[in-house]
Symmetry: C2
């Protein structure tokens, strides 16, 4: 919820910022955020309706926002923080919503501690050994990132949504929803966060051993979601992910980029609710 | 419905066998069948629940079952029969459920007469210029087709469902549902039907002009569906189709082959109902 206060929990590793709201019989849903995103980057149009049947917990990984520590340079390191966080909260069975970078952390957490994870929503993300993951040096992304006329959320709208008028309008609505939270906000991520997370992306692209072999050990039901026009983590990564996970359904949206879940929030919430239900 | 009588309508082209049932405010849904399939190959677990909100019309193309005439050797020819059928029934606005071969006919009909088609469900199918479409000479398919121990529906279960125990069990349940219709059945398709339809598949694989260029003119909302383990029309055809249609959502099921809609009939009906609603 837009007014949910930020909480902090001290663990054996770090002190993490988080927010929790909603409730219900279903296992809690922990939400894992994208590159440089903070707790403030979760769209209430997605997280609020999901909180009707379950507790939703937004997690700030180490070194991001007001969570202490350093941003790990590997996905595995980030997953260790998630596990320490869940343990400190006494959670033994959760669902995960991992978006982009967060989807990689979710996969890794499921591999390290399979018993913790019941189901996963993996949105705009890639398997280890995926392709063309977050190459911000690509001309189509650089053009946006280096545009002197764009600031803050405007950049996010260009990066996360397709160029069409309809998608950009959905992006603007998304930006407005994010901006509605005015108090108790997290500090923006700086270059230090970006550099460490980018190192984790580069390592994640490497193929070690049998390509996609680890995915066969993730037996949890997964819903893999993306937009066909994702320029940050192209949709073929979602194909590879869903094809190699033993129990994944794939859902891809037209006229949508990296932020398909925010653009089609009503459809996404309906799909996620059925999938988690 | 399993007891719905077969009807016949004389048109300017041929006399077509068909069945219609259900009703409601939504446009009728015309169902277009797969290679060698007849009206008897529609799974009531899919078509009956879809008939709760709309009329469902199962269409037998020319030269198949008790429809008169010759099976066309092109998809375009088959689409012409569909259009003659719709016109004879006085239908001016319909939704289409095209499965496999039927999905190609649906695409072609939408290109020829865009005003007729409101929305399309394109299941286990391929765009014109697709790849590895219905190559029954492939070892994994030949092994099934030439197995002397398999007959009729047993072959269909092997062809349409994944090798896993769970998928084969779903296939057996599907076969039992089809077998429940005992009266007023269509004659089985013989080699003549198969040869003509196979010629249409071979022509459909050819790329003429800009590959997938025609798909840009199909602006209707489409739901593209397949199983990741489809060996008859591999899932990458669904990727190509959904990526190049301007307004298509993609849904792919795990542990499922060509007949994903019959295996996951509850999910498919739910998805189709929301999509058509």
């Amino acid at each position: 919820m837009i007014n949910t206060p930020t909480l902090f929990i001290e663990t054996k590793l770090e002190t993490y910022a988080y927010r929790r709201f909603g409730g219900g019989a279903a296992p809690p849903l922990i939400c894992l955020q994208h590159f440089t995103g903070t707790l403030d980057n979760w769209d209430p149009a997605v997280t609020d309706p999901l909180a009707r049947d379950r507790e939703v917990i937004l997690f700030e990984n180490a070194g991001v926002g007001r969570s202490t520590g350093e941003v790990p340079t590997t996905i595995r390191g980030m997953a260790a923080h998630l596990l320490a966080f869940a343990e400190a909260l006494g959670l033994t069975r959760v669902d995960l919503l991992g978006f982009s970078l967060g989807g990689m952390v979710a996969q890794e957490a499921a591999l390290i501690r399979p018993s913790l994870v019941r189901r996963m929503l993996l949105v705009g993300t890639a398997p280890e050994g995926g392709e063309d993951i977050m190459h911000l040096e690509k001309p189509e992304l650089r053009r946006i990132l280096e545009d002197p006329n764009l600031t803050g959320l405007e950049i996010l709208v260009k990066l996360f949504f397709a160029p069409s008028e309809s998608s950009q309008a959905a992006g603007q609505a998304f930006a407005n929803r994010l901006a509605a939270r005015t108090d108790d906000r997290e500090p923006l991520s700086g270059p230090k966060v970006a550099q460490a997370q980018m190192a984790a992306f580069r390592a994640w692209e490497q193929v070690e051993g049998e390509r996609f072999g680890a995915l066969g050990r993730i037996t949890q039901p997964c819903l893999v979601v993306n937009g066909f026009l994702d320029s940050m983590i192209p949709v073929r990564n979602s194909y590879m992910l869903a094809e190699h996970l033993p129990n994944a359904m794939l859902l891809a949206y037209p006229d949508a980029g990296h932020g398909s879940l925010f653009q089609f929030h009503e459809s996404f919430v309906r799909q996620a609710t059925v999938f988690l239900g």
